[in-house]
Every structure is written in structure tokens, then in C-alpha cells.
């Protein structure tokens, strides 16, 4: 929307970036997210080293159990992310103040949730192919997950429809709450439809202490990554909204000069 004010903004930017290079190089970083980022990197390093090199093979699943260290945490966090989206949307509609931070949290969480859900679906398929002999099966859990994925892609599409910040927030909050209604309906109908569960995941099987520990590390690493990504995404969203408002100020000045 800021087509009216690009020149002034970029001129200032080049001056300011000389004065405060770090500020503009990592504009959404704080000490907290930097520390968080280091922990996330360490967690993922451990996950990769352990998952690819150290992990013992499972008696039944053999080396495929290694995929679980990524698959299970990302699935958990994807579901958690969508729950956060729903809660934040309700909070936006509930509070009289209509704080846009809730809307940004909802949007950020949904976007990160889609990323994690994509990872869940891909790693799950890559696990399923050698285990079940197929990339995909119409098991209730898989089917529900796929629907969830498509639903939140639609949610992001609605967020991108335009309008003022509050219009976007209100419309997408209603969409998110509709998704909250839809998910259990899809889940239960699919479960009735295909009641048989395939033999699933490591939870049910005997796993040794180190594997459990690694799964735990994976869960922590993905949780912290989620927090890190959502914080940054929310800050980017705030900056984008500010850019819109700033562009509006410039456009207002230009508009007033018309007369």
C-alpha cells in the first residue's frame, strides 16, 4: 500500500543504517531471542547428531525410529500452534480493547503451525513408505491432519484479503473459530469412517532411556523454535503494520497537498 512514499523512506533508511547498523540488521532480535536461538541451535545439533549417528535401532522399526525424533515433536507443536491461534482469536474478539497483538499472535502461530504440519506430513510419509509400504494411508489421524493443513492454508489466504488491520483481525478471528468448530467434526467423522488404527509410532513400543531422552530433547527444541519463530513473526507483523501506517501518513500529506 505504500507506493506513495517510497523515496523519502529509503533515503532516510540509508542514512539511519549507517548510524545504527546492528539495529537494522537484526531488527526483530532481542537478547532473549538471541539466547533462545542459541539453545534452539544446540537442541537441533543434538537432535541431528543423536538421531543420525548415536541412536540405537529399534527392535521392530530398525533405523526408521530416527525419523520419530523429528516427526513427533513437530506434530505436537503444530497442534499446539493451532490451539494458540484459536485462543488468541477468541481473545481478540473477547476483549473490548481489540488489541491487534492478539491478532498478530494468531496469524504468526498459524503460519508456524503450517510449517510444522508440513514437516509432520512429509516425515510421516517418509516413515510410512518403508514401514507400511505406502506413503499415505486413509487412517483417521492422517486424514484429520491433512484436513487441518488445508484449513489453515485457507485461514492464511483469508488473512491476506486486505482491508484495514482491524477488519483483517475480525474476519480472520471468525475464520479461526470456525476452524476450531470444524476440526473435531472432521476428526470424529473420519474416525468413525476408518476406525482401524494402524500400528503407530514409538509411544506404544518399548523404548530405551536414551531414546526417550532424545524425544524429549526434540520436543524442547521444537517448542523453543516455535517460541522463537512466533516472536519474530509477530514482530515482523508489527513492523509491517507500522509500515502501512507510516505509508498512510506520507500518503495523507500528499493527499492534503492536492487541494
Amino acid at each position: 500500500m505504500n507506493t506513495t512514499a517510497p523515496t523519502a523512506a529509503t533515503d532516510n533508511a540509508s542514512n539511519a543504517s549507517a548510524a545504527a547498523p546492528v539495529r537494522d540488521k537484526r531488527p526483530t532480535s532481542t537478547r532473549f531471542t538471541q539466547v533462545l536461538g542459541v539453545i534452539v541451535l544446540a537442541g537441533f545439533a543434538w537432535l541431528v547428531v543423536f538421531g543420525l549417528l548415536l541412536s540405537p535401532d529399534d527392535s521392530e522399526q530398525r533405523s526408521l525410529v530416527r525419523i520419530m525424533y523429528v516427526h513427533v515433536p513437530s506434530a505436537w507443536l503444530a497442534y499446539l500452534a493451532f490451539v494458540v491461534t484459536g485462543v488468541a482469536s477468541a481473545a481478540y474478539l473477547w476483549r473490548r480493547s481489540r488489541n491487534l497483538q492478539w491478532d498478530r499472535l494468531a496469524g504468526a502461530s498459524a503460519e508456524v503451525g503450517i510449517l510444522f504440519m508440513a514437516i509432520t506430513l512429509v516425515t510421516g510419509s517418509l516413515w510410512g513408505r518403508p514401514t507400511w509400504g505406502t506413503y499415505w494411508t486413509w487412517d483417521s489421524r492422517l486424514t484429520t491432519t491433512a484436513f487441518l493443513f488445508v484449513t489453515y492454508i485457507g485461514y492464511l489466504a483469508v488473512r491476506g484479503l486486505g482491508g484495514s488491520h482491524h477488519q483483517r483481525a475480525r474476519r480472520s478471528a471468525v475464520m479461526a473459530l470456525l476452524a476450531v468448530l470444524e476440526v473435531p467434526l472432521v476428526h470424529f467423522s473420519v474416525r468413525w469412517w476408518r476406525p482401524l488404527h494402524q500400528g503407530q509410532t514409538v509411544e506404544a513400543q518399548k523404548i530405551d532411556g536414551l531414546m526417550l531422552f532424545s524425544l524429549f530433547v526434540g520436543l524442547v527444541a521444537f517448542t523453543l523454535l516455535y517460541v522463537w519463530l512466533v516472536l519474530h513473526r509477530m514482530r515482523v507483523a508489527l513492523l509491517d503494520d507500522e509500515v502501512d501506517d507510516r505509508g498512510l501518513d506520507a500518503a495523507l500529506a500528499a493527499r492534503r497537498a492536492e487541494g
Binding site: L115, I119, P130, V236, L238
Partner: protein
């Protein structure tokens, strides 16, 4: 160590996951820089 027959699936799963995360993160930080360049001197509540 990895059994050879399944190594492709395991490496593929890790590769796809990490690539997706890295690409998304890089894109996010690039967006932040782009937006920040248009907002010099802006007060940022987290700073």
C-alpha cells in the same frame, strides 16, 4: 549406525525438515530487514 536400506528415508526426513525450517527462518529475517529499512528511527516496543 544407519542401516543402508532405510538411510535414504531417514536422511530425507531430516533433510526436508531442516531445509524447510532454515528457508522459512531466512525468509522471516529478510522480511524483518526489509520492513525495518522502511522504518528508520522507529520505536520498537521490544528494544
Amino acid at each position: 549406525m544407519l542401516a543402508m536400506r532405510q538411510a535414504g528415508f531417514v536422511l530425507g526426513a531430516y533433510g526436508v525438515s531442516l531445509t524447510a525450517i532454515v528457508l522459512y527462518t531466512a525468509g522471516l529475517l529478510a522480511r524483518a530487514r526489509r520492513a525495518a529499512r522502511r522504518l528508520p528511527g522507529e520505536e520498537r516496543p521490544w528494544q
